[in-house]
Symmetry: none
Subunit: 419 residues, 2 copies
């Protein structure tokens, strides 16, 4: 079963607004077993909208539009659809009453623009809008279904999950689709591809693999399609288990998750606490950890030691070590981690010191050189990394690498304690 999405709105084509609606609709349809074939964004223009519908793929059974249903004169989607389906617009008194009531609860009076929203194509099913005055519309023509949804995200979302998806499930016998996303850290895309090439070539034909990289993180997405959801879930979890054996602790989570959430869970499970001493990451590790609700259970705080003086006075780093080895060195980053762990009395501590760029690089320590240390009761581990030239990416990659290092060390000590 194939679908197409048409997003309508000048604001998207001038780059003023990022189209987040499409991703939501795609995800909803995909989970229902409907494949989105293409997404097309067109301006608020009747001819362009009709043209977009006309060029949709022959085997497409569902066309969804979003946007252009508002009360202002630049909203023309309704007119385009009426023309396309050769229908007149007629006043729908029931809808008019809904609009009047809706505005009334917001202490607004019905004006001519709002009244015009009750003018609707004469032969289409209407989809109620819980959060706004723009009705959704459902047309059927030559065995193809057309849905017109509003562009305001929360209105569209409620209509999609409350009306469109149930209608589609009723209308069609849909294939089953199961997704599984495996999150990994610390393994480059090309290295991963080599590592799992044998496994990948053995994948059954109904399972597809996708690589989704972001700074420091690589997600592997498995998509299985077939007829029985249970069977697919079994297939996918069997393949995920196989991957776990190949990749091992390189995998930090499965499903909807993040490295900060997973590392946080490990800390909570082991009733441990953590503190950070950040130089080149400048607070980003702290920000990531505290972006997780409830992180106050395990995160005590940290010291942003941007200035060397702060490293010396607040973290107890030996001034002579900075003079001898430089602030970006194994010696200093170890003292930073140990210093903050002692000061904040935590089980674990993370420290970073590096050259984020764009200035400060040398032949010996080029931009992107980052030392990371993780300190725990047993010892302090330190590693050097070479990231890229881009400040923002360096900070992000260093933060992810630091959290991943902490994660691996927690797992290590867990295994030791249980072994």
């Amino acid at each position: 079963m194939k679908a197409e999405i048409i997003t309508i709105g000048d604001e998207i084509l001038i780059g003023q607004v990022i189209d987040t609606n499409s991703a939501f609709i795609c995800s909803e349809l995909n989970q229902t077993g409907i494949k989105v074939n293409r997404i097309l964004s067109v301006p608020d223009n009747k001819d362009e909208i009709i043209d977009a519908i006309n060029t949709s793929g022959k085997d497409v059974k569902i066309v969804l539009t979003t946007g252009g249903l508002g009360p202002t004169s630049d909203d023309v989607t309704k007119h385009a659809l009426a023309e396309y389906f050769n229908q007149n617009l007629v006043l729908n008194n029931e809808v008019l009453e809904h609009i009047r009531r809706f505005l009334h609860t917001r202490r607004l009076k019905l004006n001519e623009r709002n009244r015009a929203q009750a003018l609707l194509p004469e032969r289409c099913r209407l989809l109620p809008n819980e959060f706004g005055t723009a009705m959704g519309m459902w047309f059927e023509k030559e065995n193809r279904h057309y849905f017109a949804l509003p562009g305001v995200p929360h209105e569209m979302k409620a209509m999609m999950t409350g009306h469109v998806i149930p209608a589609l499930i009723k209308q069609f016998e849909l294939p089953a689709i199961v997704h599984c996303t495996i999150h990994t850290a610390g393994i480059a895309e090309s290295v991963m591809a080599d590592k799992i090439s044998g496994w990948e070539s053995d994948l059954p034909q109904n399972i597809k693999l996708a690589y989704l990289p972001s700074p420091g993180i690589l997600r592997l997405r498995l998509t299985a399609s077939g007829t029985d959801k249970r069977t697919l879930e079994g297939q996918v979890s069997y393949q995920a288990e196989k991957l776990k054996k190949i990749i091992g602790t390189g995998i930090f989570g499965i499903g909807h998750t993040t490295i900060e959430a997973e590392t946080g869970s490990l800390l909570r499970q082991s009733r441990s606490t953590v503190a950070v001493a950040e130089s080149c990451t400048g607070g980003n590790i702290s920000r990531m950890i505290t972006s997780v609700p409830g992180s106050s259970d395990y995160f005590r705080g940290g010291i942003i030691a941007y200035d060397n003086d702060v490293k010396i006075k607040m973290l107890g780093v030996d001034k002579r070590k900075i003079e001898r080895y430089g602030a970006v060195s194994k010696h200093v980053v170890i003292q930073m981690a140990e210093g903050v762990r002692k000061k904040l009395k935590t089980a674990y501590a993370i420290a970073t010191s590096g050259i984020a760029g764009p200035a400060g690089g040398t032949a010996e320590k080029p931009i992107g050189t980052v030392w990371i240390a993780v300190s725990c009761d047993e010892k302090t581990f330190a590693m050097v990394f070479s990231f890229g030239n881009l400040r923002e990416t360096n900070i992000m990659r260093a933060s992810v690498a630091a959290l991943n290092m902490l994660r691996l060390i927690i797992i290590r000590s867990k295994n030791r304690n249980s072994g």
Copy 2:
């Protein structure tokens, strides 16, 4: 001059990834005077890519693709383009050398997949990729220009601004368009609309105004179009001056800038330093300040005092004040700011303490309640804010409000000293 964008990637069509590249490209093209006619998202499939190119509008002179240039087997854009333009893929030794060097600086070895990235269509101009191994490609056929860019946002962005836009400006005679973005903080959208309505209705017809809101910040973008760039620049700066008089210090910058960069410049100009003591913002203010290259000139560091114990021991907050007024209070946030200023010996200090959510709200202090303090030589200022229910937005709004408060206090003391 019309353009079309084709974004390539299964991850977009299953809704796993939001396509942010298109908005960036649209905005860049729009500012150059090129109108994007449609955006089409298609899967990683050769036939679909070719089909998308074939269905592009007749009067379209520029087709841009993003995505599908990676080293893995699901990346097929290059193959689709080679087929469309009837070209062979040949090994480009120069590119191979670039890839080898690029991987080397990351301590990675060249493998077969990376080597395959140096196989490129025999007759296209290559666009260098500063941040990755995927080259950009530029084809010309029947008076139409085709650009293939990588899908990784920072790689795409650098290629777009560094190579594609300059190439387009050289290639075509484009109409003159002048943009001017005025950044404001601390003024709500509806308040701003009232404030500037008189000015707005007096705007000449060739100048358009757009409101671009983001958490805590409202940008006003003026777009003037015409034939002579100089004239437009004069018009736009005249209108910007008028706005400055109406909005005053609510404006923090003009052009490509951020509140962290502008506040940083003020600190540098006054040869001052700053430190932070963050509770609810959890490192985000620090991250924002240090995202600016060269921020080590004025940022000494900070303390993330997530735990009350850290507030007491590291910042010298009086335990009894926490017990009596709560950690989210005027008394505590003032002590936090004064504590970190003293410890880190800076001219200014920022402190935050609030309830980010989703838990922790009370009737008296609901989620979104945030106290912010800024301490300087003269005195310590404190204010309470009521943000929303969303953790992420609260953290962002509190961080922006804190930086804005610091900015206004620096300006105030500057005016005093010069007055």
